[in-house]
Each structure stands twice: as C-alpha cells, then as structure tokens.
C-alpha cells in the first residue's frame, strides 16, 4: 500500500463533527439516564486489556481482536466489548459486593476485522450487565430495559427476537445422541444463517423421516408465544424443555412490563457469541440493515475470572442508532456574537462575561482597525459557507 495521504484515516474509523457529537451525546445521555432510573450505575474500564485475560474471555473471535504488544512483549487487546472487562472487575474489585450488581456503560470498542456490513473498526456501545441473578425475572428485566433504552435513544420502530441456547442443544442431544460432530455442523449452519445448508446437512445424516422432520421443524420456530408450544411438541429432552419453560416465564414477566408486544420468539437464533449460555436476544430497527442491540445470559464467563456467578446483559450498538435515528432536530440556543474595536475591548469582553454567566453562548471577535471591507458581510459569508456555524441569535457591536 502506498503512503496514506494527509486526509486519510484508517478504514473502519470515523470522525464525528459537532452536530453528530451533539446527537451522539443526546442518545448517550438519554440512554444512560434511562438505565440509571432502573438502578444501573455507570462503570468505566480501560481501553486496553491483556490478551490472556479479557482478550481470551471475550466473545470476539481471535482474528477480530485488535492486538498490540507492550514494551515487555506482552500481547494486549483493545477492548472488543465491555462484558469481559466487567466480568474481570466483578471478580476482582467488586468481588465482595453483595449480589445482584447492576452496572451500565457507554464506551468505544474495537474490532480488527469486522465482517458485518459497514466493517467498523471502532464504534460505541451502550449497555448493562446484571450480575448474580439467574432467574427469568432478571432476563426479562434486561429485555424490558433494552426496549426502554431503544425508545430513549429515539428508535421508534423496533422488534426484539428472543431465543435460548439450551433448546437447540437439548434437541440435538436427543435426536443425535453422541454424534457431537454432526451436532456442531448443524449448529454452525444456523450460526451462519444458512438454512439451505442446514436442510442439506440433515439430509446427509441418515436419519429417519421422523427425526428429519423434527430437526427441520426448528426453522419454523419463530413467532409469538405459540412457538413455545410447537417447540415442546418436537422435543422431550429435559434441557430443551427447561429452556422453553424459562423463556415462557421470561415472557410472562415481559407481559407484566407491558413489553411482550415488542418481542418475538426465535429458536433458530444462536448468539453469535460463544459465551452465551441461556436466553439470547437481538434488537432490530426498521430502516437499519443490521441489529441495533444484542444480549443474553452468560453464566460461565465470570468463572473464567475465578468467580462462578450467573450474569445477563445487553449492549446497544449506539453508533448504528446514531446513523438511523432522525430524532427531533435538536433546538439549541444559537450563540451571540460580540464584536468590538480595540478601544472598546474591555466593554465587549465584560458584556460577554455577563451573558455567559446568564447561560448564553458567546463568541467574541476583534474588529481590526485596518479593515476596510464591511465586517458584517464577512461575518455572513463565514456563516453561510460553514459546516459548523449555525448563525447567531444576536450580534452586538462595541465601537
């Protein structure tokens, strides 16, 4: 590759100009405030972590982790999510904290090679973790909070799909006992969202028609509450049934939250992340091509840091929401411009000070003595050609 030109930045990262920052900050503020009202307190963790701890524990595949070497030659990673760092904190600084613990975060995360549309290398996530509660109540709480957070962010039309890792695992154990490799290849097909491949794999497994039908039936397990019944019809495996019962109880709680109307069952959905162990969910917004939220239960992750406690949570993909949410135009007060000649500097700056103390935004500008052209025209030209200027609510001249 040739040397980068001056204007270029690495692919997958972006600049945020003031109007985008205003919008991003508003989303961040509204969402964090919403999480705060549910008792989730914000935490910040470092941008960099050790590869061997947080890197290995994170859900991001090895090749997608952004790796660096420190001066001792130890491999470091730029955090790829906040779930693994928070698991580390829960097992160290907060190891004696009474459970459950509710934490929220808003942070930039990094990916070396992102396969998803957009291929972002750095983006913002806003999310929560609810640690130390393994009940359906807790799972429903994070889903309901995800819904409220999406609303707070200004996303109007959205849906949540909810699944469970245990159902498919149970069904596969029942239909294909001891055939771990076949189980894995079917799971891989679903993970790749390749339904054609899934059907082809089934066809190649030498199964009875009844077994084939049961496995193919999985692809239809998407929809409302009735899906739970259909799922119970095709599996009597204990794990599968327990998973469905768990989801039904989550659903009941969601109904009490009046949130079930936003939620669909989807038992074909496997969390992309290896660390999910139970309920998983994804959030989708109309007009945005890829998911805006993902979450689920990960009961084995904290164990990797030496503290075996259950946890559940979600993250909003805030950068993506920023792209999609029109939101109401943010009406901010325009600044006041104070112009003064050198002789009136003291009066001009005193006025600026006074207005700022009242809460106004004030920009000051010296009128040069030698300026023959009309300063007013110049000012207007600057405003009209600018990406940043929005004009002034008032211009005060001291001369």
């Amino acid at each position: 590759m040739s040397k980068p030109k001056g204007f270029e930045k690495p692919s997958g990262v972006r600049d945020y100009l003031p109007h985008a920052v205003t919008k991003l900050r508003r989303i961040e503020r509204e969402v964090l405030a919403c999480m705060d009202r549910w008792g989730y307190r914000q935490i910040m963790t470092p941008t960099m972590e050790y590869y061997d701890t947080v890197g290995v524990a994170s859900s991001t595949s090895d090749q997608k982790l952004f790796k660096l070497l420190n001066k001792h030659g130890t491999t470091m990673v730029l955090r790829s999510d906040l779930t693994a760092p928070i698991a580390r904190v829960m097992s160290s600084l907060l190891k004696d904290e009474p459970l459950p613990v509710r934490l929220s975060y808003h942070a930039n995360v990094f990916r070396a090679i992102e396969e998803e549309a957009g291929r972002e290398a750095e983006f913002f996530q806003t999310g929560v973790e609810l640690v130390g509660d393994d009940t359906p109540e807790a799972d429903a709480e994070v889903i309901a909070l995800a819904i409220e957070s999406l609303k707070a962010a200004g996303v109007e039309k959205f849906k949540i799909a909810m699944g469970h890792m245990g159902f498919l695992n149970g069904l596969l154990q029942e239909v294909l006992p001891e055939r771990t490799e076949d189980q894995e290849s079917l799971k891989q097909d679903l993970l790749n969202r390749d339904y054609v491949g899934y059907r082809n794999t089934i066809a190649g497994l030498n199964l009875t028609e009844e077994q084939q039908n049961r496995l193919e039936e999985v692809l239809k397990l998407r929809g409302g509450r009735e899906v739970a019944g259909q799922a119970l019809d095709i599996s009597s495996n204990e794990l599968a049934r327990a998973s469905i019962e768990h989801l039904c109880r989550v659903w009941e709680v969601l109904e009490a939250y009046d949130a079930a109307k936003h939620v669909l069952f989807d038992l074909t959905m496997l969390g992309d992340f290896s660390y999910y162990t139970g309920m998983t969910f994804e959030g989708y917004a109309a007009e945005l091509g890829s998911p805006v939220a993902s979450g689920g239960r990960y009961d084995k992750l904290l164990q990797q840091f030496g503290r075996a406690i259950p946890a559940t949570g979600f993250a909003l993909k805030t950068t993506r929401i920023l792209d999609g949410v029109q939101g109401e135009e943010i009406t901010e007060e325009l600044p006041v411009l104070i112009r003064y000649t050198a002789a009136y500097r003291k009066a001009g700056l005193a006025k600026a000070s006074e207005l700022r103390a009242e809460g106004h935004t004030v920009i000051t500008s010296l009128i040069p003595d030698t300026d023959g052209t009309n300063a007013q025209d110049k000012e207007e030209a600057a405003v009209s050609g600018s990406m940043l200027h929005r004009g002034y609510q008032d211009i005060i001249t001291f001369q």
Binding site: N192, D194, Y195, V196, D266, G289
Partner: protein
C-alpha cells in the same frame, strides 16, 4: 390486521432473472417475465407487493447485507465467494450448475501451480482444504483461455453443460460444490418483515416441491 409491507427484492439481471421470475409467477405473483427491454433499475410491482431492484448478480448479497434490499436471489457461487452476513432461506433449485476444477487432459502437478478464476476466495479455500498451495490469479472473464495460453495450469469455474470446455479441449477434473440459486434475506428485514418474507418462502417452497415431485 396490519397492512403488508412492500418487499424490496434484489434481482439478478440476465440468465437467472427469467428462471426466477417464472418461479415467482408459478407462485402466483404477477412479476414481469423479462426485463431485458427495460432500462429501469427499480421496478415497482404493487400487485405483487414487491419492488424489484435489478442488480448485477455479484452485487445482490451486498444490497441485501446492507439492508437496501430486504431479500434477494443469487447463485450459491456468489454467496460462497462473497461470504456476506445474510440469511440463506431457500434453495430455489434453478440455474443448476457446479463449481469445478478444470484443466488440460494431460495436466500433471508442477512445482509452482497457478490457478485462474473469477472466484479467488472459493479457489483459495478449496486448495487449502486439499492441502495444496497454489497461486490464485483473478480474471474477470474468458477463464477457459488461461490454460490454453499458459497463464495458469488449471482454472476454477462454473460448469453448466460442459460444452464450452469440450470445445476448448479442457476437462473437468473435480467438482467442488453444486450451485443453484438461493433466496437470501437481510438480518433485520427477516425480523421486521417476518410475515411477508415467510409467506413468500412458503409459496415458493410449495412450487419448488411440486416441481420436484413432477420430475
């Protein structure tokens, strides 16, 4: 009852279009059989509840991945090569052919092997799995030319009838995978327009199954 939403469908121009539109019509959807005449790139089909986006076949998965099209029709060859994050919902069973390794009849493995192809990712992955290290040369057309003029000793390409190969004195050495056209869906549309996409899938599948039964 909610109003059905319009499905945005990325349709491949050319060979596959006619077969796909025939399938849609068999499923009771009034779509034009032929779009060769039109210069339009977007065709609104309110009676079918669809909007066709006419695309170069290799671009179909990209439109669907980014969500500018809800669903699309594309060959498995393109899906394997492009590796996009989309749902592959249905094997439409049309435009059947295969991806193959092709060479001259007297081919013998040399020290440095070169393979020419329009599908560099497919070719690289296949030879790696075979435990062979080869140099992959990307070409954009007339792949059959490469072994004839010594640019490469083998090629990886789609084979439909094998006629072109025969005419050029080439032989099919291995088949890598079978190709048919697939119905793909965007991850979000698949949820947000679940009913519309599921209905279409069911109707298409009914046609495909009855056609298969008639064979």
């Amino acid at each position: 009852m909610k109003v059905a939403e319009t499905l945005k469908v990325a349709m491949p121009k050319g060979r596959i279009y006619k077969k796909a539109s025939a399938l849609f019509r068999s499923a009771g959807l009034p779509v034009p059989l032929d779009v060769d005449e039109t210069r339009k790139l977007v065709i609104s089909l309110p009676e079918a509840g669809m909007e066709f986006i006419l695309a170069k076949p290799v671009d179909v998965p990209t439109y669907v991945e980014y969500g500018v099209a809800d669903i699309g029709i594309v060959g498995k060859d393109v899906l394997m090569e492009e590796n996009k994050d989309v749902y592959e919902l249905l094997d439409l069973g049309i435009a059947r052919c295969r991806m193959s390794v092709i060479g001259l009849p007297d081919w013998k493995p040399g020290i440095h092997q070169r393979v020419a192809t329009k599908y560099p990712n497919v070719a690289s992955q296949y030879f790696r799995e075979q435990g062979q290290q080869v140099e992959v040369v990307k070409l954009n057309g007339s792949i059959e030319l490469a072994p004839l003029i010594g640019l490469a000793d083998r090629i990886v390409d789609m084979v439909e009838t094998g006629q072109t190969l025969k005419e050029n004195g080439l032989v099919e050495m291995n088949s890598i995978f079978e190709i048919t056209s697939r119905l793909i869906a965007n991850r979000v549309s698949y949820r947000m327009k679940n009913d519309e996409i599921q209905t279409l899938c069911d109707r298409l599948q009914a046609v495909i199954l009855s056609e298969r039964a008639n064979l």
